[in-house]
């Protein structure tokens, strides 16, 4: 790994519990960040980031498996059984198989990552996730030469996921990343937030978090990971390819037919919250812009 990503937030932004749990991590990364800061050409937006409250993060969700309303997941996700849980890892890997959650977590470093989260619907949050880098998992299972993409699938269990009883989307929910995006140190497999186990409505027990992409790329309640050499089909792109591309990088300059992406509203500001400008790659331009060098981002949206 070239470097491990570090928050641009100070410990003042971290909850006491989170700080306590992650102090070692925090100190270990401090030196590396100073170096990276000098190299970074563009100044990163230094806004005063304050994480959303646990209540905000867990009461306003898009998780169509439980219904299309923002409060449906919080209302119905308690029905979901998350233990036992396993993930099938297949395709172009050296060690394919069905791994239990415990096997996957074995030896992984769970760290806190405070990330901006930007929904394509132009609302956003700041979320203190807990999780490990997807790269660590992929390295462990052994990615074969020639693999270029990683495909993900969410659980299909209509008896516990009432939204799946109607064909609002083509189940299972599918997402995908290019292999270099998947291996990027920012890309997280999250198992919790605020130091708590992942709430069901946020994608328990394990979900993806790709902070520079619109939220729907960060697939929840993952049961399958497939390494492949072809760009995998993704749910929202299958639903409406004009509106949702495979890449779906946060980009205030690329227009969306439904929502202006130039600005966003941070959830939690109440009735008189003002819009704030949306940042290129959701504020992670220094870290990820190189992945897309030479690509026309309005074509590969």
């Amino acid at each position: 790994m070239a470097y491990r990503w570090k928050n641009d937030l100070t410990h003042a932004d971290v909850t006491p519990k989170g700080l306590f749990l992650n102090r070692r991590q925090w100190m270990a990364g401090a030196g590396a960040v100073m170096g990276a800061g000098l190299i970074g050409g563009q100044a990163r937006a230094q806004e005063a980031l304050e994480p959303n409250t646990f209540e905000e993060i867990t009461s306003y969700n898009n998780f169509y498996e439980f219904g299309t309303g923002k409060t449906d997941p919080a209302a119905y996700a308690h029905m979901l059984t998350t233990d036992p849980w396993s993930i099938e890892i297949d395709g172009m890997v050296d060690n394919p198989g069905v791994y239990s959650l415990a096997e996957i977590l074995e030896g992984m470093t769970i760290e806190e990552r405070i990330y901006r989260f930007r929904c394509v619907e132009a609302w956003s949050m700041v979320i203190p996730w807990n999780g490990f880098e997807l790269a660590d998992l992929l390295t462990r299972v052994g990615v074969q030469d020639g693999a270029q993409y990683v495909a993900f699938e969410t659980l299909v269990r209509p008896e516990e996921m009432p939204g799946q009883r109607s064909p609002i989307l083509n189940w299972p929910y599918r997402e995908g990343l290019r292999l270099d995006e998947a291996m990027h140190p920012l890309t997280l497999m999250a198992t919790g937030l605020y130091g708590e186990p992942m709430p069901n409505q946020n994608g328990a027990p394990i979900r993806l978090v790709v902070p520079w992409k619109y939220g729907f790329k960060s697939i929840k309640s993952i049961v399958r990971i497939t390494l492949t050499d072809e760009e995998p089909p993704t749910t929202w792109n299958m639903q409406n390819s004009r509106e949702y591309g495979f890449y779906s990088n946060v980009n205030p300059e690329v227009d969306h037919p439904r929502w202006s992406q130039a600005s966003e509203r941070r959830v939690g500001g109440g009735l008189f919250a003002r819009r704030i400008p949306t940042l290129m790659f959701n504020g992670y331009e220094d870290e990820v812009a190189s992945l897309y060098e030479g690509m026309d981002l309005s074509e590969y949206f």
């Binding site: 009461s59 923002k70 639903q239 037919p257 439904r258 929502w259 202006s260 509203r265 109440g270 009735l271």
Partner: protein, 201 residues
């Protein structure tokens, strides 16, 4: 039975309907300020105001079919329904401009031009504007037959409103489709009556 009801209704004044009709707006605002609309109250308020606007507009267009098929005479209250619908459309629009878009005029203009569901919603508002302005008794008297012709714009407006509702959804939703279906039905009824009348003459 229906005659007694009609006679009672005729004795009721029109004005309390305006007062009652705006109570939901006041209630929503109160909820929004006090956290009762969830963690993203702007979207919730905007949505609810739009739905209520459609309900009143549809109610106004249900007055004639109700009289025709059920004998229920609500004609006295039709204007109040229409104006309440327009009032809620105004509140919905204002919520979008002020609270949702923070008066970012550049982005607002872009939305109006490039996002069809917003263009359609705005068109519905503009169609309702002359109707609201000609809703006084004197305007009705002065305009005569032209008033009736002008107010047929409400048929277009209510269907556009339903379409606006359906199109802003990311996936097909039963609620918005139901509103569009009802809007289309109340307008289709008029078209049917019109063709029958033409056929008879």
């Amino acid at each position: 039975m229906i005659d007694t009801l009609n006679q009672t209704l005729r004795r009721l004044p029109e004005w309390p309907l305006y007062f009652l009709g705006f109570l939901p707006a006041a209630w929503l605002l109160w909820l929004g300020v006090n956290g009762g609309l969830g963690v993203e109250p702007i979207k919730a308020l905007e949505h609810e105001l739009g739905v209520i606007a459609l309900q009143f507009l549809i109610a106004a267009l249900l007055v004639t079919p109700l009289r025709r098929y059920a004998g229920l005479n609500l004609l006295k209250f039709r204007r109040a329904f229409g104006l309440l619908g327009f009032g809620y459309v105004c509140l919905h629009l204002l919520t979008w401009l002020a609270l949702d878009m923070s008066f970012l005029w550049g982005q607002i203009a872009e939305d109006l031009l490039e996002r069809p569901y917003i263009t359609i919603g705005m068109a519905a508002f503009l169609l309702l504007l002359p109707l609201a302005l000609t809703s006084t008794k004197s305007a009705i008297r002065r305009m005569g037959l032209r008033w009736h012709k002008l107010h047929r714009l409400s048929y277009v407006a209510v269907v556009l409103g339903g379409l606006h509702f359906v199109m802003q959804e990311k996936v097909w939703s039963l609620q918005s489709l139901a509103y569009l279906a009802i809007a289309v039905a109340v307008v289709a009824m008029r078209a049917l009556w019109l063709t029958r009348r033409v056929a008879r003459s």
